[in-house]
């Protein structure tokens, strides 16, 4: 009964979130809120996607920017080749991401720890080099894209992108939540705690990791697709920027990797801070503030915001009892 209630609560919350985003798009006139909001929502999807493999299974992935960039370029390719609408761009990017996740997983998931992480860095370099040499999508010079007319009932494209990003957040979080609560999540946690013990206990470790890698890759690529239309420009250096990998990882760690809400909180906190710092301090101090935040969390709250909240909760209960 409690489980059903929790499910219902989650979906009511998700519906309310999308409805709020939609209402904002129809009523708020100031477009800056949508530009900044889109970036925050995009990072929620990326951090949630990262956490499926990096958090639940403990496989630290530095390849987020590779998947994100491939998502961007899938959209660019579809737009240039067949003038595909945005939802097709996102859908195809998710499929490409899943296939790529599976392929990359097959090649790299036999590696563990630091060796896996290094292999994922290499994926970004390979993907960036390939795109740099592919003239059809602009090659090294990049490509400028013109948005098609906006679809009703939105009055501007960025508002539409904002609502689409909100829907993507719900899909990503629902997927992460499902993984966490299913047998897949339990298997991944067993892998994180002790992979050999899990294997010996009959957990199909490689298969589970592959599924996690495919899901994670699909979400990352899907997050990249609308970015092409957001920037209306794509170049390999920006699309495969290592910042996406580092941010997704940092957001999950700051939020906490053990629960789906962790990356969401981490992404909201970090991405919002980044956006605010950009238009307030706007200098090298920007980078310093984020660095200090990371160090503080690693030292004071190694299990992220979730861990900190749990500790506070236990402490409060002890005090009351």
């Amino acid at each position: 009964m409690g489980g059903v209630g929790r499910h219902l609560g989650f979906w009511i919350g998700a519906a309310a979130f999308v409805a709020l985003a939609f209402a904002m798009a129809l009523t708020v006139r100031n477009e800056y809120a949508f530009f900044a909001g889109f970036v925050v929502l995009q990072f929620i999807v990326l951090a949630t996607a990262w956490n499926i493999l990096g958090g639940y299974a403990g496989y630290v992935n530095f390849g987020t920017s590779a998947f994100f960039g491939i998502g961007v370029y899938t959209a660019v390719f579809l737009l240039k080749a067949v003038a595909a609408p945005l939802w097709i761009q996102i859908g195809v990017a998710a499929l490409v991401g899943a296939a790529l996740g599976l392929g990359v997983g097959l090649l790299t998931l036999r590696l563990r720890g630091i060796f896996f992480s290094i292999a994922t860095v290499a994926i970004t370099i390979i993907a960036e080099t390939l795109i740099t040499n592919w003239k059809f999508v602009g090659g090294a010079t990049g490509v400028q894209l013109l948005r098609p007319p906006v679809t009703e009932p939105f009055d501007s494209y960025i508002k539409m992108l904002f609502v689409i990003a909100a829907v993507m957040v719900v899909i990503a979080v629902a997927l992460a939540r499902y993984v966490q609560n299913s047998g897949l999540g339990r298997g991944l946690r067993a892998i994180r705690d002790d992979e050999i013990a899990a294997e010996c206990s009959g957990v199909p470790t490689l298969n589970l990791k592959l599924v996690a890698c495919a899901l994670s890759g699909a979400l990352m690529c899907a997050a990249g697709a609308p970015s092409a239309m957001y920037l209306q420009f794509a170049d390999p250096v920006s699309a495969f920027n290592l910042n996406y990998s580092v941010s997704a990882l940092a957001m999950s760690l700051i939020g906490g990797t053990s629960h789906w809400i962790g990356p969401v909180l981490g992404a909201i906190l970090l991405a919002t801070t980044q956006q605010l710092l950009t238009v307030t301090i706007s200098s090298e101090v920007n980078v310093l503030v984020l660095g200090v935040m990371l160090v503080l969390f690693v030292v004071a709250a190694p299990e992220g915001i979730i861990g900190l909240a749990r500790r506070l909760w236990r402490w409060a209960r002890r005090r009351t009892s």
């Binding site: 400028q144 013109l146 957001y230 420009f233 910042n243 950009t278 706007s282």
Partner: protein
Amino acid sequence: MGSGRIHRRTAVAGALAAGLALPVRAQQGPVKIGMSMPLTGGLAAGGKSALVGIEVWRDDVNEKGGLLGRKVELIVYDDKSSAAETPAIYSKLLDVDKVDLLFAPYATVPTAPIMPMVKQRDLLLMGNFSFQVNRTVKHDKWFNNAPWGPADSWARGFIDLGMKAGAKTIALIGADQEFAQNLMKIAKDVATEKGVKVVYEQSYPPATAEFSAMVRAIRAARADMVFVCSYPPDSVGLLRAINEIGIGDSVRLFGGGMVGLQFSSVMESMGSLLNGVVNYNSWLPEKSMEFAGTKDFFVKYQKRAGEAKVDPLGYYLAPFGYAMGQMVEQAANATKSLDHKKLADFLRSNEMMTIVGPIVFGPDGERKESATLMAQFRGVVDKNIEQFRNPGKQIILFPEKWKTGELVQPFEKARK
């Protein structure tokens, strides 16, 4: 009761007065000019230098009483040299800060994403050293301060010089990055059009540090001229490799599009290795490049550059930042307005006098005629930044109107 009525009346009168006074007060507020600038990241050195140039203009114009009688205020945010940051920043500038005018950030990549935005909102955007960024968008209120001019004029200047010196073949090398690839493609097209044979063509990954194999290959190809499209680290690497191996006696002209050789730190560290290279530039301390206000500007810039720890010479970008402001100032004074359409109409159809010379725009918002210099390094000694403050170290060969000397060739002779 009575006193309450008086209060109400006063309140109504006050509200009316405030209502009437509001537009007047808004008129007299500062003219806000918004921009993002790469203050951190790979483009930061250039961005900071360009910003100091714009700040010198702001202070000069404010000293003269401001723009249309209103003080000029700059609102600047750091875009971290990234294209991903600029759409949100420019939306903030327009929708929250409500700026009156927009300047573009330094360089092509951060500028590219804001071009569609300004076109959709039909706004004036003063460009800041980007390259062919309006090619796809075709915005009619875009005006680039860079001296580039038509896309092919850069390569054309170099190849014309080479052909005059008797060159019949060319080698093309360039980094696998946005700007270098654009330039290399154009150079190849111009060479083909002019009947110059391309005997060697090579792109290299941006992180390349070792160029000896490439230099040997160019030497073996016996090209008459070598057009290089490189970024600062590769420009340095290439010149060092040439110094060690030599490029051969066939080469009459070497350089063209080497980014980095315009920056003080690179010029100082490379010293005599620069001699003989014929490279693009934007402004140089030669007699032919002195216009009204140029000297004053550099006195002010170089004083601030020390405090701001930016390029101490500042020839490449800073005066063009100042010129951006000058152009807006002239357009605003002439039209007595900050209306973007009126300003754009004026900028499109008039010659603007600036500290980097007269500027006339073509229909695409780039210079009608290229003012990109091709200059040859001569008599440069090692570890001396001061030498570059005087004329004679970079002889202007192109364009003809600003020429200050003749080409010394072949390249190996000019290096000595």
